[in-house]
Amino acid sequence: MSQKPKFAAIAFGLSIGLTGAANAAWQPAKPIEFIATAGPGGGTDNFARAVQNIITKYKLVEQPIVVVNKAGGSGAEGYTYTKAMAGDPYKIVFGTSNAWTQPMVSKVAYNYTDLTPIAAMVQDEFLLWVKQDAPYQNVQDFLKAVAAKPAGDFKMGGAQSKDTDETLTRMIDKAAKVKFVYIPFKSGAEAAVQLAGGHVDAHVNNPSESIGQWKGSTQRPLCAFSPQRLPDGPKVTATQNWHDIPTCAESGLAISQFQQPRTVWLPGKVTADQAAFYVDLMKKVQATPEWKEYIERTSQTDTFLTGDAFSKFIKDDIERTRKVAADEGWLIAN
């Protein structure tokens, strides 16, 4: 935590930069590389490409933009690469909260303090899903069934190990005094298929990862880990839309909020002007109708955190994750 002052200084620099963003002194003079820390087709890749499409469409930047996928090592490849590019304002890395959670639990060669935070642009939601023909209609029934069986009989599928899905599973363990066996798969899509086949009992996928399965009546959500219900919208199934799904807190599972931010970073050691340019750019992207359309299509929640708000968010998230990780013995000695 010795890096804290440096981080605060960058955030401070950002907020200064922000006020003068309109006449930012710095402009890109050569092609820009967007680094997606996920494979083609993944949530982070779609995020990076959505931003690229909007910037290109509105010509928000004169220079061409190239998206590069560096998905190796659950995203560590992309962050490690960006760390090595310190001072280069033409590399923008797109990720999630794994920028700060991954270094806590595995021996990767970067930390989020090696990067310059730009913004958290959108929050992906989590829901608790069970198989369509499962006997339980609500979270209470489900948790009772889990508690009735010996510990470890219920299997929770999820994407990756010691990442958001497993953290959330362990939080459910605590909140409901149960014990799931967590089975890590490569992606949320894989976990969804395993649930449809009855090989696991539940998973905590994002809406976009399981909407097709919900529509097709192979699985259904029990509750959403968000402070209020998801926004109203068109019906997903014959009778329900996202808004009809209760929040977990209101249905008696005391986890009021768990979200996955989609984050944007520059390499370390860039100037405040350069960072301010990209903060401003992302703001312009966020104001377009195409951005709204992207948010709605993927059922995510619009948000824009930058500067102090973003650093506070990171700090809170680290605190929460560290608690879970410490209890589970995941923390690695640094």
């Binding site: 499409n53 190796g72 090592g73 190990s161 097709g212």
Partner: protein, 502 residues
């Protein structure tokens, strides 16, 4: 019959001048990315994806899937001509395709490959047409223990044959497993075997290993042994293309068997790579000409190509029906589907009939277009074999270098590739087999993940592999394949023994 009606309707949608034009464009671009090592269908698909946003979803998916067909065909070209497999699934094609091309018959080798590939692809599409919904159900029956059993089956059918010294085979296989384990481990999330190099966290890419082991390694063998490609007549050999195609029915048993293996592995999570290896392994055991395998035997090209394409085609079905992308390309296409407002999953077949059946119809047409175009290119590619070695050698080195670099824009990969080149030369020179190493790199970590996921589910009991009929059958089948050579030998010895006795 309902499906056939829907298919006819689908043809009505797919058969328009506009769509045929898109198919031609897609196939040609696909052949280009397939031929260039390092680039693959995912590059092409992500390049085209932004262009398709203005199109009708049917037109867009026709363009993208045509590119997929083109890339599948193109990937075999470099395997046969230069021993450089562009995609994991064309590795098995090098075993007999390259010796045949070196023997002065590149036209025959290419035409055989394309002909059997087309047969395999059509078998896959027919399967999709006739039993789409049933197939989707089969795929759902596969949990981690079944995944493991399928990978075990693939290894069992391939390893345990061949004339290489057994211990060298074992070392080669184990090195492949170790390389597959480099990077972040899915099940525990921890970093493994990076040997102090931070960048290794991304793992060892199959493409990098194969460019070095096969491409550069073969180049070194070629200069050292100073072989000369047999003179090829400079005439464009159209007649040879047709003669080869007309002769393919001789291998109808091999074609059918390979297509069946391919369809099976495409629906189950085995995928095209495992399918082509497995098909080659089984052909080598069953063929009456098994002694010629590895020396340019046509059946050794037929088997992996038909299985590869059957698997590649039928693998699109789980993507549409279940939303599991079977490959990187399928993942990009799935991203595209969502952008067009379609959700892959069980409802796609009900809600988007036009789209789904238009796509299936375009698979028939796209494959026909792809075969015709690719056969037209055979003489051009075959002519590459006439380029003198001192020109082609630097070109291969440059293409392998750029290819290795473009996998993840990394210079480290280029150096790794050169290292693999030296290793490939040594291995080939000293009769270490390379195929087990490659198979282990491609499916080794998946097999390990599936095993450990199963162990989590059963809390450490191996009984999970004998808990359900499906998984037990697969495991027993694998064990039988593994033991078959031993049993054959014993039987043969006993027979000989009884003959000697009067």
């Amino acid at each position: 019959m309902e499906n056939l009606e829907a298919l006819v309707h689908g043809f009505g949608i797919a058969l328009s001048g506009n769509h045929i034009f898109l198919m031609v464009i897609g196939v040609l671009l696909g052949i280009l990315v397939g031929v260039l090592p390092g680039l693959g269908a995912p590059n092409g698909v992500s390049l085209l994806l932004p262009l398709t946003f203005g199109m009708q979803p049917v037109s867009a998916i026709i363009l993208l899937s045509s590119m997929y067909w083109g890339a599948l065909f193109g990937g075999s070209v470099t395997s046969i001509l230069f021993n450089i497999p562009g995609e994991p699934s064309s590795v098995a094609t090098t075993f007999d395709g390259y010796p045949m091309a070196r023997d002065g018959r590149p036209t025959t080798a290419l035409a055989t490959a394309f002909g059997s590939a087309a047969f395999g692809a059509l078998a896959g599409v027919v399967l999709i047409t006739l039993c789409a919904s049933w197939v989707a159900q089969v795929a759902l029956a596969f949990g981690p223990p079944e995944y493991f059993a399928v990978y075990f089956l693939a290894f069992a059918s391939f390893v345990g044959m061949g004339g290489s010294p057994p211990v060298k085979t074992l070392v080669s296989l184990a090195i492949g497993f170790a390389l597959a384990a480099v990077g972040i481990d899915t099940v525990s999330g921890s970093v493994r075997l990076t040997m102090g190099i931070d960048e290794m966290v991304k793992g060892v890419s199959f493409v990098v290993a194969v460019m070095g082991l096969f491409g550069i390694g073969e180049l070194l063998i070629a200069v050292e042994e100073e072989f000369h490609v047999k003179a090829i007549s400079s005439k464009v050999e159209w007649r040879e293309v047709f003669r080869t195609l007309a002769g393919l029915p001789r291998y109808s048993w091999a074609l059918l068997r390979s297509a069946a293996i391919g369809c099976w592995m495409g629906i189950t999570p085995g995928g095209p790579t495992a399918a082509s290896f497995m098909s080659y392994g089984i052909a080598k055991r069953l063929s009456p000409r098994r002694a010629n395998f590895g020396k340019g035997e046509p059946e050794g090209i037929v088997a992996p190509e038909a299985a590869d394409h059957a698997a590649g085609t039928s693998a699109l079905l789980p993507m549409l029906a279940l939303g599991i992308p079977g490959s990187a390309t399928a993942a990009v296409m799935m991203g595209g589907l969502m952008i067009w407002g379609l959700n892959p999953g069980p409802m796609l077949f009900v809600e988007q009939k036009d789209f789904v059946w238009g796509l299936i119809a375009s698979m028939y047409l796209g494959n026909v277009v792809a075969v015709v175009l690719v056969l037209l290119t055979v003489p051009i590619f075959a002519a590459l074999m006439r380029v003198p070695f001192f020109i082609i050698a630097p070109v291969i080195v440059i293409l392998c270098t750029v290819g290795a670099f473009s996998v993840s824009n990394s210079y480290l990969d280029v150096m790794l590739m050169m290292g693999f080149g030296v290793l490939g030369y040594l291995f080939k020179k000293l009769h270490y087999p390379l195929a087990p190493l490659v198979l282990a790199i491609v499916i080794g970590d998946k097999a390990e993940d599936a095993f450990r996921q199963s162990m989590l589910m059963s809390r450490g009991s191996l009984g999970i592999f004998f808990a359900k009929p499906l998984v037990t059958t697969l495991i027993l089948l694998g064990a039988a394949l593994l033991l078959m050579p031993v049993i054959w030998r014993t039987i043969a010895r006993m027979m000989q023994g009884s003959q000697v006795k009067p």
